[in-house]
Amino acid sequence: MYDASSRSTGREPARLRCCKRSFPQGAGGPSQVTRVHRPILGALALLLGGCVHYYQPMADLHRPTVIDPRLPNFSDVSLTVRCEPGDLITVQDASALCRKVATLFENQGATVATALGGEEAEAVGDDDDDTQQAAAPAGDLTGLTLVLRSRKVHASYHPLSWVFFTASFTVLPGVNETTFAQDVVVRDPTGACSRRNFEGRIVDRVGFGSWFGNTLADWLDRDKEHRLTGDAMDEHLSHDLYRQLSQTVFNAKMQWEIQEQLPARAPQEAP
């Protein structure tokens, strides 16, 4: 019951922060230990050093793209962005992600509406004016639906690293990591869809050694694009994800234009 359809407003899409905030919340095993100790370790790290978040694109997130998100690539598209909360992102995070992605496409000329939740929530939201407007694009606009699902693929807490972290007075880093997946489905007006799965890995290295070494390297050696401290992880992840989403939707739009010219055949069943 968390369908919260809303119209987006044109502005600069904000950087994504959902992954950093939404680390494992599951019970049991390493995740539970991480949850219990994270505040204590975080406070310790703040006192004695810092934390550096590393983002590593794993599958498809760093695939080359051609589309320029600053240009009006979707002026003939009516896009519904549907974000589904899951084990990695909460309803609030999904809502924030939807707003940012909506802004991304609105800046490229698309008519955008957003909605939260899965198929059931969509049926409940049919009474909502915005959802109905999104489902029935006006005029010659191509109606596409972009569905975003975030999944936690793996979370790992390296206990030995925390032993060394403590024994070395935070010179050696304590390490946590999470592998996430962003499943993307683009549906055209017939319900046919194209899918992409993006995977990435977030590695947290906590401690004075990690923070000091990288801050020094950022300051002395690395150019702005390759810096790793501060908000670098958010920037790099947003950059990759926004470009891939733009490219995926554009490719789907081109595919739909071909589909329109094909001889009539039975519509494909949406998953």
Binding site: P30, Y54, Y55, Q56, P57, M58, A59, H62, R63, P64, T65, V66, I67, D68, N73, V153, H154, S156, Y157, H158, P159, L160, F164, S168, V171, L172, P173, E177, T179, E199, R201, V203, R205, F208, G209, S210, F212, G213, N214, L216, A217, R222, E225, H226, L228, H236, Q247, F250, N251, M254, Q255, E257, I258, Q261, L262, P263
Partner: protein, 211 residues
């Protein structure tokens, strides 16, 4: 200095593909395609390289992240060429599958393949890969390339892509460049901003998009 050296040594975990103190994004992580697999799968896939779990379990949790270095380093090729070529094998396999599934009536014909792209290198690679994929599906493929006159090319070049393909197909049939038993498979990209390839068939002067 001692602290800095200690920090550096501590941070340089040599097997972790994530960016770090001695691994820039461009040099390492953006040049790798990685996947996370279970320890059991890793033992099967890389016997000898990954130790199997002990019968009573390992003392510490172990992860396996398998990374493959890309053939061409980032920035070496044009991004669009890289995007098309890096998935070319899958793309042509999909096209050949669509040909077999959607037009089984053309299985006995001779297939000619044409690729259209701004880059001659990409064009030749796409054409070669598409021919191979058709042959894999048991189709007869010819190396012959149907030709149009300079006048035809000039006129067709000024048309929108959809009309150009329809017009070119008709001209191939009318001029005899495409014989009765021939079928032309054209592989092309319709917009410079897309990174997928589309395919169509020209047969008996009629153009049909496949995908």
């Amino acid at each position: 200095m001692i602290l800095a050296a200690l920090s550096a040594g501590a941070l340089a975990s040599p097997f972790d593909p994530a960016p770090g103190l001695f691994r820039s994004r461009a040099a390492r992580s953006e040049n790798l395609d990685c996947e996370r697999i279970s320890t059991e799968a890793a033992v099967r896939r890389y016997p000898g390289l990954v130790q199997p779990e002990r019968p009573r379990g390992d003392f510490v949790e172990r992860d396996v992240v398998v990374c493959t270095e890309r053939l061409a380093r980032p920035g070496l090729r044009d991004p669009r060429d890289e995007a098309i070529l890096s998935t070319l094998e899958d793309t042509v396999a999909e096209i050949a599958g669509a040909v077999e599934a959607l037009r089984p009536d053309l299985a006995g014909r001779t297939w000619l393949v044409e690729a259209y792209d701004d880059s001659p290198r990409v064009t030749s690679k796409v054409s070669f890969a598409a021919k191979n994929a058709l042959m894999t599906h048991g189709l007869t493929v010819s190396d012959r390339t149907p030709a149009l006159s300079a006048g035809d090319i000039e006129v067709l070049g000024r048309m929108p892509p959809d009309q150009a393909f329809t017009g070119a197909c008709r001209r191939y049939a009318d001029s005899g460049a495409l014989r009765e038993q021939d079928v032309l498979l054209a592989v092309t990209s319709r917009d410079p901003r897309e990174t997928v390839l589309h395919a169509g068939i020209c047969e008996g002067g009629l153009w049909t998009w496949l995908q």
